[in-house]
């Protein structure tokens, strides 16, 4: 596994974070260091082991398909400046 500047910049882009030059220089060796350590996991034999995405067994929890009280449109919009005609306003899509 080659963790280089190109890969770091690519991952940052996927994560929608732009790193400064200073951050790249700082993060690159730290990321290499950490991933090398975490690679130790390969020593553990996990053949035929199922992954656990929760620590306890969770059954699907569903509710009645019925209307419930929720935030009003005004309340939902009250925490942002970016809104228009009762909708959230976002940046242009294309």
């Amino acid at each position: 596994m080659e963790v280089d500047r190109k890969l770091l910049e690519h991952v940052a882009e996927v994560a929608r974070v732009k790193l400064s030059e200073e951050e790249i220089k700082k993060f690159l060796p730290q990321l290499k260091d950490a991933l090398e350590f975490f690679s130790k996991l390969k020593e553990v034999n996990t053949d035929d082991v199922k992954p656990s995405f929760h620590p306890v067994e969770i059954r699907n929890s569903v509710r009645e398909d019925a209307e419930e009280e929720c935030l009003s449109q005004d309340e939902a919009l009250s925490l942002t400046e970016h809104k228009k005609n009762g909708y959230f306003k976002g940046p242009r899509a294309v």
């Binding site: 790193l19 730290q30 260091d33 130790k40 996991l41 929890s61 940046p91």
Partner: protein, 477 residues
């Protein structure tokens, strides 16, 4: 004075609730100047709640006192837990000014029981840290020595629990954020079983790991708050639909015959001698009270816990933090550029350094080509780890280790640590968190004027046993 005794005084009119709350808020302000335990002191809410309670006391409203478990008791709240109309930032600049429109489940319960919300406590940004230094706001200082850390990420909650009398704290743990700071500040901190306390209204770090739990100067107070917040909540799909126990009935309950497993790998190399000595004192105390202690080898948790935890936690955090993008709530910028340009700008300007590091680590661990070796591998090792613990609990009621392998470090020492060295400090606490097991920090001694904590771990939903053991150590001395 225990919360229970305090409540009696309120009921008997020996304490004026409004005056008392004013005094507490004043005290919080003074403590905060010196120690930075609060991101926000919720003076207005606290006084309104106190006046409201006073009104009911004066009007002699029938049955008002009955079953009010927290009447007039000051409760502080880790900043990642939503309190309606009170700024809630989770220690992040990206949530500066955010005032939730609703209460978290735990807060709703505290208010129903007459608890007074005094403020939001300092923490690492979104819980990303072991020392509460990764914050956009003030860094909490250890109550025993201001040059040292409170631990993290619930550092403000722990420091305040030590410093402020007649108060109980709500903390939150993802990988040790309740027990580690509790250990560094010499207080009790109980991290419940995953799903025992609803996560509704908690600003999440990692969905499969986050737990809200109580912290307090006494086992009694922590058990009392646990009784208030435990239970099923339909608003959290991972909330366990199992009736909550009465945790207070485990206080001062004899521990004769309880079997304790001493985790062999958690002692020896890498553990400071003073820490080890005091944890063994704690174990001896339990034995004197009638518990049976025996060594057990648990290889996976100590050897692979850090890697498993950080891969899962960072992966989940990187998806969770995708919602912070400058729309709907939280920090925003001028709407310019494309979607991606706009989101990137808001996120780059407002996430702190450790948040960025973990987002990148987690995004990497989930990416095509790396996912099998990191994220999925960690999820499989997690299964093995849970199995290993489950096997141990066939023989033992609880497992024991130090909570932290070191005494609370100085900020100047922490500065020298690399991120990986920083992560390694969590070695004792990450594994019970990965396995969703309840665990408790019990203060067991003071060494070089600094507190030492013992970590007790129990099987799923066995919080009661932990409280029983914690109470035995507390009253045994």
């Amino acid at each position: 004075m225990l919360a229970k005794e305090f409540i009696e005084k309120i009921k008997n009119n020996e304490i004026d609730i409004v005056e008392h709350t004013e005094k507490i808020i004043q005290e919080c302000k003074e403590i905060n100047k010196e120690y930075n335990y609060f991101n926000t002191i919720s003076e207005e809410l606290a006084l309104n709640q106190a006046r409201e309670i006073n009104k009911k006391i004066l009007s002699k409203e029938k049955n008002f006192f009955a079953n009010k478990k927290l009447l007039g008791v000051a409760i502080s709240v880790k900043d990642s837990i939503c309190v309606k109309d009170v700024e809630t930032t989770a220690g992040s600049k990206i949530l500066q000014g955010y005032k939730p429109l609703f209460d978290a489940f735990a807060i709703k319960r505290v208010k129903e029981e007459g608890g007074i919300i005094i403020g939001k406590t300092a923490q690492d940004e979104f819980g990303f840290g072991t020392f509460s230094i990764n914050s956009a706001y003030g860094i909490p200082k250890n109550p025993f020595d201001k040059e040292r850390s409170c631990g993290g990420s619930s550092g403000g909650a722990a420091g305040l629990s030590q410093k402020l009398k007649n108060h109980i704290a709500l903390g939150e743990s993802t990988g040790g954020s309740i027990t580690t700071p509790a250990s560094f500040c010499g207080v009790f901190g109980l991290c419940p079983t995953y799903g025992r306390v609803s996560r509704y209204g908690l600003i999440d770090f990692a969905n499969s790991l986050d737990k809200i739990g109580p912290m307090g100067k006494s086992m009694e107070d922590a058990a009392l708050l646990m009784n208030v917040i435990a239970g099923h909540d339909k608003n959290d799909s991972t909330s366990l639909n199992v009736k909550a126990e009465d945790y207070e009935k485990y206080l001062k309950k004899p521990i004769k015959g309880i079997k304790i497993g001493i985790i062999k790998e958690a002692f020896g190399a890498g553990v400071e001698r003073e820490v080890e000595k005091n944890v063994y004192n704690g174990i001896n105390e339990l034995e004197e009270e009638g518990a049976k202690a025996e060594e057990i080898s648990l290889e996976l948790p100590i050897k692979y816990g850090i890697s498993t935890y950080y891969m899962i936690a960072a992966s989940e955090a990187s998806t969770n933090l995708a919602k912070f993008c400058g729309m709907r709530y939280g920090a925003a910028e001028k709407l310019e550029g494309s979607f991606n340009e706009y989101f990137t700008k808001v996120r780059s300007n407002n996430f702190g350094e450790e948040a960025k590091r973990r987002i990148i680590l987690g995004t990497f661990a989930r990416m095509a080509g790396y996912k099998d070796a990191f994220y999925l591998k960690a999820a499989k090792v997690r299964t093995l780890m849970i199995n290993e613990y489950k096997k141990a609990f066939k023989k033992f009621d609880a497992l024991v280790s130090p909570t932290a392998s070191i005494l609370p470090p100085k900020f100047s020492e922490i500065e020298k640590l690399s991120p990986l060295q920083h992560y390694m400090i969590d070695v004792m606490t990450v594994s019970p968190n990965v396995a969703g097991l309840p665990h408790l920090n019990v203060p067991v001694g003071i060494e070089k004027n600094l507190p030492v904590g013992m970590l007790l771990i129990a099987d799923h939903l066995q919080e009661g046993k932990l409280i029983q053991l914690g109470s035995a150590v507390e009253h045994g001395k």
